[in-house]
């Protein structure tokens, strides 16, 4: 049974654990390098990307994660997690860094501040209709040729990808973990 870590520095860790626990995987929290060494795959949860990025550095996890990602560890990032995986972050802090493993450009809070947070129905490829919960969500504005788009959404300004995959790296602008539907997690877990 694969062991899936949830990066537990900050954010909605518990919801991801709940979703993963209902699938056939062993779930564990990752706050240290030793814990990262023990997992086969990682979920980077929703939260505040600036806070998580800061804590990745102070917890001495950044370099270890760069190493694991370069070796192809499967990873799913939702919301803040997507931002952390993206090649380019727009409207971030001037010193905002990311792992640059997913060839997309994301705009932080691209759909607006909290008042604009929304729910909608998404059509996810290979899955069907999924309830999408977007909270101060990043907007994927550019997608590289190697990136597969599994779902997109038109928020009145044209189509934007909301669930993407580049090999083992998955990015999701919404929060499948906030609903009882675990099909997006299942898609990810099946590739581990």
């Amino acid at each position: 049974m694969p062991r899936v870590g949830v990066l537990a520095l900050q954010g909605d860790v518990r919801e991801h654990e709940r979703a993963l626990n209902s699938l056939s995987v062993d779930v564990t929290r990752v706050r240290t390098r030793e814990q990262l060494d023990e997992v086969d795959a990682l979920v980077m949860p929703g939260g505040e990307s600036t806070a998580i990025a800061h804590l990745l550095v102070t917890s001495e996890l950044r370099a270890a994660l760069v190493d694991r990602l370069s070796k192809g560890m499967p990873v799913l990032g939702t919301c803040a997690g997507l931002i952390l995986l993206s090649r380019e972050v727009l409207d971030g802090r001037v010193d905002q860094w990311s792992f640059e493993t997913l060839d997309v450009s994301v705009r932080r809070n691209g759909y607006g501040r909290q008042l604009a947070s929304f729910e909608t129905t998404l059509r996810v490829r290979e899955v069907g209709d999924v309830h999408g919960v977007f909270i101060r969500a990043p907007k994927i504005e550019k997608v590289g040729d190697v990136v597969e788009i599994l779902a997109s959404h038109d928020h009145g300004d044209g189509e934007h990808a909301v669930l993407v995959r580049q090999g083992n790296v998955w990015g999701c602008a919404f929060h499948p973990e906030l609903t009882d539907d675990t099909r997006v997690h299942r898609l990810f877990v099946e590739t581990i």
Binding site: G47, A51, R108, Q114, L115, G156
Partner: protein, 298 residues
């Protein structure tokens, strides 16, 4: 493969509570100007609370404490990328309307400000912006949730630098939840009456063992050890008011409390970040206080 804006909706309980979920495991810091907001964000705060005076200064100055000047809130919104919260007086729905119009990310209907209505809290369901409210016990928490609050913070005693009230309130809420957990279905009616809380919410807590919304902690947290303490007592995130910018070295204190909040179960990390921090805010012994902010709201 695509969906459209027409089928979308905003302001739902899920997106309101969802933002609180995203803040879990984090530190929300009181800031009074853009410079402090920047320090907070640099230190890894998950959100800032924009207000004109931190609680210890409100306590010192006396007078009526009101919503902050919109200009100050907007300057802070322009400075940081993290969520910006602001406080409205208890029952002052017009202040809350203004804060919603300013596009703040969370409204704190707060006992730190002077209450505007001694009978009624704000009807929070009427708003798109989510609300956080303070509570000293489970009944108060469930009444606020019944009114539409999407996050509860234990009140503590703001501006004192003394964690004793925060501990009392968290322990009270937890003990009352445990009592509901062990209750027979037929006992819940009387327990709801005792708690003065809506029966459906009492039933929900009895079934799940936790509040229907995230439970954060506020009021008197002023060291990394305080943060670790309240998280171990079941708080899911911390609000730090005067504790950072009234300490000797706010930058280090801010970093240290953020680290301690993430690694609250690892005493070695909390020890490391507590080392050589300088003085925490001086603080007050709560028995000597003239005004107990926690007694505001009901």
């Amino acid at each position: 493969m695509s969906s459209s804006a027409e089928s979308s909706f905003t302001g739902s309980a899920l997106v309101k509570r969802g933002l609180a979920d995203m803040l879990r495991g984090g530190v929300i810091m009181d800031v009074v100007n853009p410079e402090q907001a920047k320090i907070a964000e640099d230190a890894g705060a998950v959100a800032v609370m924009a207000l004109e005076r931190v609680p210890s200064d409100i306590r010192r100055d006396g007078g009526v404490a009101r919503m902050s000047d919109p200009q100050m809130i907007q300057e802070i919104q322009a400075t940081v990328t993290i969520p910006v919260m602001a406080k409205a007086r208890i029952g002052h729905f017009a202040e809350a309307q203004i804060l919603q119009a300013l596009n703040v990310d969370y409204v704190d209907e707060s006992e730190v400000l002077t209450p505007a209505d001694e009978e009624n809290h704000i009807d929070k369901w009427a708003f798109t912006v989510p609300f956080v409210c303070g509570a000293t016990n489970l009944g108060e928490a469930l009444r606020r949730i019944g009114e539409g609050a999407c996050m509860i913070r234990s009140k503590g005693e703001a501006g004192t630098g003394n964690v004793v009230e925060a501990v009392r309130h968290l322990r009270t809420i937890n003990a009352q939840i445990r009592r509901l957990r062990s209750a027979d279905e037929s006992e819940l009616y009387a327990l709801a009456k005792d708690l003065q809380a809506p029966l459906p919410l009492v039933r929900e807590v009895a079934a799940t063992g936790h509040l229907p919304v995230p439970l954060f902690c506020a009021g008197g947290i002023s060291t990394p050890a305080d943060a670790s303490l309240v998280l171990q007592l079941g708080a899911e995130a911390v609000f730090v008011g005067s504790g950072i910018f009234k300490s000797d070295d706010p930058v280090r204190m801010a970093h240290a409390i953020v680290e301690a909040t993430t690694h609250f179960e690892d005493a070695a990390v909390v020890a490391k970040v507590s080392t050589g921090l300088g003085d925490a805010m001086k603080g007050f012994e709560t028995a000597t206080l003239e005004t107990r902010l926690a007694e505001r709201g009901w």
